[in-house]
């Protein structure tokens, strides 16, 4: 019994093998991507002959969020150019993130680039790093408190300013009832964006909020569909992340809604949707720039004692990706740098 079953499995596997070999796709996939990439070039800017340094980059990235891929791409490119070994780590729990900073201090890195989503938890560790003589630059999150925290420089977008800019543009586009979709509850930067949108809209329109479970695509799809079914007067949906925008496209179709879709942040798949017109525009905070400048500014400080920004925030956004500049940006998005 046992023997014959084993043999049966063996025969089955043997029969599947040629099937697998014969079943190649002649469209799409990696082959197509490689063929397309053969023509393009990646971002590379030579190689510095300065001493070798090790820099730790510690972020609050949630597992699986595509936004951080672009930040990492920027940081990696700068590190490669600057003769730097980049140690990347992330944890979306602030106390764990603070521990990662402590680990970086203990391993005597030459510089730290850090995001600060929760000043109470993160600041003490940043101050410890400065006390240990390690230069710290901050980026992406913590725009209101980075000076008190002891950061030397800050690269990022003021989420409120970005929200207001988005709100103003929505008002210009004639949006009256805006739905702001938050993919997590209790995150300061997401709330700041929605509040900014409301402020930017001013008296031109109203804004309502919808919380969705960002870790479950099907649940996101159903929740947005439900809200669009409930409130037929919604004429603009703004999502706070590229993956959510992609799901919102399906939700709008499922609810037979004519609402227009706008979003914060981008990834390659979403850029394609701006091109096709399914997404009107995206608020871009240029994550590649945030990652790149964080590492490059540490290199400038370590090799030439330069400090960028004069004690003020260096704003990397908001800029907008829309039909006017999509053709240019799309090519860069394909290779993962926009």
């Amino acid at each position: 019994m046992f023997r014959s079953r084993k043999r049966a499995i063996g025969i089955a596997l043997f029969m599947i093998l040629p099937l697998v070999l014969a079943a190649c796709s002649s469209t799409g996939g990696k082959k197509a991507a490689q063929a397309a990439a053969a023509g393009g070039t990646s971002v590379a800017a030579g190689h510095a002959n300065t001493p070798h340094y090790t820099i730790a980059m510690i972020t609050h990235a949630a597992p699986g969020d595509t936004f951080w891929d672009i930040i990492r791409a920027g940081a990696t490119a700068a590190a490669a150019k600057d003769n730097i070994t980049l140690k990347y780590s992330n944890n979306d729990d602030p106390t764990q993130q603070a521990q990662l900073i402590q680990d970086a201090i203990n391993s005597h890195v030459n510089g730290i680039a850090v995001t600060d989503p929760d000043p109470q938890a993160i600041c003490p560790s940043i101050q410890k790093a400065r006390a240990a003589g390690i230069p710290v630059v901050m980026f992406n999150a913590g725009v209101t408190t980075w000076q008190q925290c002891g950061g030397m420089e800050y690269f990022g977008q003021d989420e409120s300013i970005a929200g207001v800019a988005a709100g103003k543009r929505l008002a210009t586009a004639g949006a009256k009832n805006v739905l702001c979709v938050l993919q997590a509850q209790g995150q300061v930067q997401l709330e700041a964006r929605c509040a900014g949108v409301q402020q930017g809209l001013g008296s031109e329109g109203t804004m309502s909020k919808l919380y969705v479970n960002g870790t479950d695509s099907s649940a996101v799809l159903s929740s947005i569909t439900a809200e669009l079914t409930r409130n037929k007067s919604i004429d603009a949906v703004i999502t706070l992340g590229a993956p959510i925008a992609l799901i919102a496209i399906q939700a709008i179709a499922a609810a037979h809604s004519t609402t227009k879709l706008y979003t914060f942040d981008t990834n390659a798949a979403e850029i394609a949707k701006i091109k096709s017109g399914a997404v009107q525009w995206a608020v871009d905070q240029q994550p590649y720039l945030q990652g790149y400048l964080s590492v490059d500014s540490l290199w400038l400080y370590l090799t030439n004692a330069n400090v960028i920004g004069g004690g003020q925030t260096v704003l990397t956004g908001p800029s907008f990706i829309d039909s006017s500049n999509i053709a240019q940006v799309a090519a860069y998005a394909e290779r993962g740098t926009r």
């Binding site: 079943a23 796709s25 469209t27 799409g28 996939g29 197509a32 699986g64 595509t66 929740s223 499922a254």
Partner: protein, 352 residues
């Protein structure tokens, strides 16, 4: 009704209550899913009254859709719980299977159906591994699958990052076979102007199969006996080890199926997805009458449990309640459903 007639003033003559006939209502209420059914009806009426958009057929189709994504997994999870085990890796297994299928077909530029089969093999292997470790070591499945939960979560992110240099799987919608796979796993059809996703049908079919197995087959009896008392089951010749491994593999199979649905609906899979859903599956099974200790429960109950969760999730949005309170209301309504369930079961047991 017979009970009323038989209720005497003096103590009844000695009579074995196990062979006594019970009324239809009493028998219905004694079913594991009875409490959940009442809870589901109460919640349906509740939202029907307070949320006008909830009343339309299109809205209910949307409720059924989100229910089916939980229900597909709650069904095998309920069987596993009746068999006395937990699977905390069930939520991330869905993502693992989908990532595996997607990355395989993308990286090797194969027909997506090849990736689909590779994903199935992986999902079954995860189930087998969970079951095998539990059976061989005797370590509680809560701990074993907690370990695999973290491992899979890490593998999902690390391997996706290593292979694709990003944290989501690439878009596979241009590969050959994608359209047929989408038809099979994530299709939809229209009945009377209402769009229904096929996952709803699959969910009902799988639930029916599970119910048939549980109530009408020898394997069903074995599942109950294994969960009730593994040593006694073993003593009467039930292959306890094989049963448990089989149940874990059933969870793996459905994780694959659910993963394929998600993959072909959204074209890409984010590697961090699925975390937390394992508890939704377990909640659905428990609300539906499964005991945390095993040996008792039903597949229909798990389906109703999933429906309660789906209705609460969507109903709150349809009702337009303050979104800040969303999680609170989800918890409150679920707790209410469980309390009602327990109350009805106690009454049914007392009446029996």
């Amino acid at each position: 009704m017979t009970q009323v007639a038989e209720a005497p003033v003096t103590p009844p003559p000695i009579r074995d209550e196990r062979v006594g006939r019970k009324s239809l209502l009493a028998r219905l209420l004694a079913r594991p899913e009875a409490g959940a059914l009442v809870g589901a009806i109460v919640i349906y009426i509740f939202f029907f009254i307070i949320a006008p958009p909830f009343r339309s057929a299109a809205s209910f189709s949307s409720v059924l859709y989100v229910t089916s994504t939980y229900g597909l997994m709650a069904t095998p999870v309920a069987l596993l719980m009746i068999g006395g085990e937990f699977d905390l890796s069930a939520g991330v297994s869905v993502t693992s299977a989908a990532l595996c299928a997607s990355l395989f077909s993308y990286e090797f530029t194969t027909n997506v159906w090849v990736g689909v089969l590779v994903g199935l093999a992986l999902a079954l292997f995860i189930g087998f591994l969970n079951g095998w470790i539990v059976v061989k070591t005797g370590i509680p499945s809560f701990l074993v699958t907690l370990g695999t939960f973290f491992m899979l979560q890490g593998l999902n992110i690390a391997l996706t990052q290593t292979i694709t240099n990003q944290v989501a799987s690439p878009d596979i919608s241009t590969l050959q076979g994608f359209n047929s796979a989408r038809e099979v796993f994530s299709g939809s059809f229209t009945v009377g102007g209402v769009n229904i996703r096929t996952s709803v049908i699959y969910w009902i079919v799988f639930c029916a199969i599970a119910t048939y197995i549980l109530l009408r087959t020898r394997i069903g009896n074995w599942i109950f006996s294994v969960g009730g008392s593994a040593p006694s089951a073993r003593a009467v010749g039930v292959p306890v080890g094989k049963m448990k491994i089989g149940l874990f593999m059933a969870v793996g199979f459905m994780a694959w199926f659910t993963g394929m649905h998600t993959l072909f609906l959204f074209n890409t899979i984010q590697s961090g997805q699925g975390v937390g859903n394992e508890f939704v599956y377990i909640i659905a099974a428990v609300v539906g009458g499964c005991l945390l200790t095993g040996g008792y429960g039903s597949a229909v109950g798990a389906a109703i449990g999933a429906l309660i969760f789906g209705m609460v999730n969507q109903g709150i949005v349809y009702a337009g309640w303050n979104p800040d309170w969303f999680q609170f209301f989800v918890g409150l309504l679920l707790l209410g459903a469980i309390l009602l369930n327990t109350f009805i079961r106690r009454r049914a047991e007392a009446a029996a």
